[in-house]
Symmetry: C2
Subunit: 320 residues, 2 copies
Amino acid sequence: MDLKEYLEQTANQVDALIDRYFGSACDNLGKASAHLLLAGGKRLRPAVLLLSADAVKKGSSIDLQPAALALELTHSFTLIHDDIMDGDEVRRGVPTVHTRWNEPTAILAGDVLFASAFEFLTMSDCPDNAKVRATSMLARTCVEICEGQHLDMSFEERDDVSEGEYLKMVEKKTGALYAASAGIGSILAGGNPSYSSALYHFGQGIGMAFQIQDDLIDLLAPPEVSGKDQASDIREGKKTLIHIKALEKGYDLSPFKRRLSPGEIEEIIATLKKLGVIAEVQGIAENLVKTGIKRISILPPSEERDLLIQMGDHFIRRSY
Amino acid sequence: MDLKEYLEQTANQVDALIDRYFGSACDNLGKASAHLLLAGGKRLRPAVLLLSADAVKKGSSIDLQPAALALELTHSFTLIHDDIMDGDEVRRGVPTVHTRWNEPTAILAGDVLFASAFEFLTMSDCPDNAKVRATSMLARTCVEICEGQHLDMSFEERDDVSEGEYLKMVEKKTGALYAASAGIGSILAGGNPSYSSALYHFGQGIGMAFQIQDDLIDLLAPPEVSGKDQASDIREGKKTLIHIKALEKGYDLSPFKRRLSPGEIEEIIATLKKLGVIAEVQGIAENLVKTGIKRISILPPSEERDLLIQMGDHFIRRSY
């Protein structure tokens, strides 16, 4: 099976669970909780969890569907709360929860998914000691995600964010949940500690690379490809790795924190390419994936390990 | 030991844990998460958890301190998010988290405590199967709390809230966490299912009574006793049991949804007393406690069971 096929199959499974458990809410809070879940999504974290489980114990993923759902619920909870904080109005082509309903309902909808994640995590068919370790890992991960989001917001007011600080933020904000997806998959499947640790760090690395690639796409992809506004990070003054690396080379993107014409964006991209910024940022993402893949080379060879490797590569090759 | 002494002792234990784990945060998010926790509190939910544990297995509470803390963290998380939704500016004599910092930080601070609650729940020294059941119960409880808060907010726009609807709201918003405190205490201590169920329903009943008593205190207690604004519920048009029972007797409190003079408040109280509303509402709270106490009569007699009974009585006798 190739990666595309596998991801489609997993997405269908997760969609079916979402439909079963969240598809028929009739009250406002239930509908608000289900809103973003039902608007689609690539279900990448569940896929990482299930692949990791099968990579340490073939066939174990069948019993871990609720845990896979738990990771998607956690992701959706963070999106709902982040959208409130960032004041974003559209996500996945639909109005964000606080826009469609209101802020109090959106806070509660996020909280409901947060709690549901822990409920589903305990529902998988696996030993209790594994569930306890998985619960603890998911809880710690959620604290890290909050810390990452808080760091990200604090960066907006600062001009001196270092590469190290940026990477720490991305590790928490995006890396942690991919790390937990892979780590929890291994733990629940009964993987030994060295496998679980390898998968955890693999997930962390590809998760961080995923976010860096997101930043590259934001700048480089035309709206008709990405479905998003081009160069929104520069316009909003976000301290991405691109911003930090450009500044290191004496090119300050701060003055472009304003409406930008397509021509201006083209010019900025050309300058960044000439300075080697784009290549350097791509190189950092590639290294994160490469190091992650190296970590899981200790796992026995399997179709699932290969798919995980493909997934890491896909995270930095994708253009939307 | 009498109840007052026991509660003081538990509060000291919980305060020491809070100080250890949350007392030395130096970043903004850490400080915001710790803010309300450090502002004090009666730590009633931890006390219910520890008493319930000892009531089913003497001495078991010693190993359950992290779980007791988990319940206080959950309570604190709900306060932080509720304060945002309700726009409240002061709590426990200090500015609320979104007032002292800002809304995004308050959302994240609540989320951090929410996640930490699950982390601490897994840290108690007890069998894994008990921890999994406790995790599941806490998760389900958090969903209920959100539903209760959402119902409560939706009542503000309605004039036809029934007694049954009010009691359902209070069951979720306040009863559920006391129910979980008692139920989790029993589960983690290895209590048999009938003990755990009895304690769960005891907690639910006294928790609901606690909220009804809160509504009575809001109306009846002068500010110098309660430390709060008198009759704020009437001024804000809250659909409390008092409001609902008064309306049943043809006395509509809606027109008093405005600034009220001390004389007006006195007059409203006199009318409600004459109509028998106060006595009827007190009777409902008393019945909830009485039924709860009856549930735990199946437990073997113990000092801790007696303290739980005293606690139920205290919940409806307290005047602040």
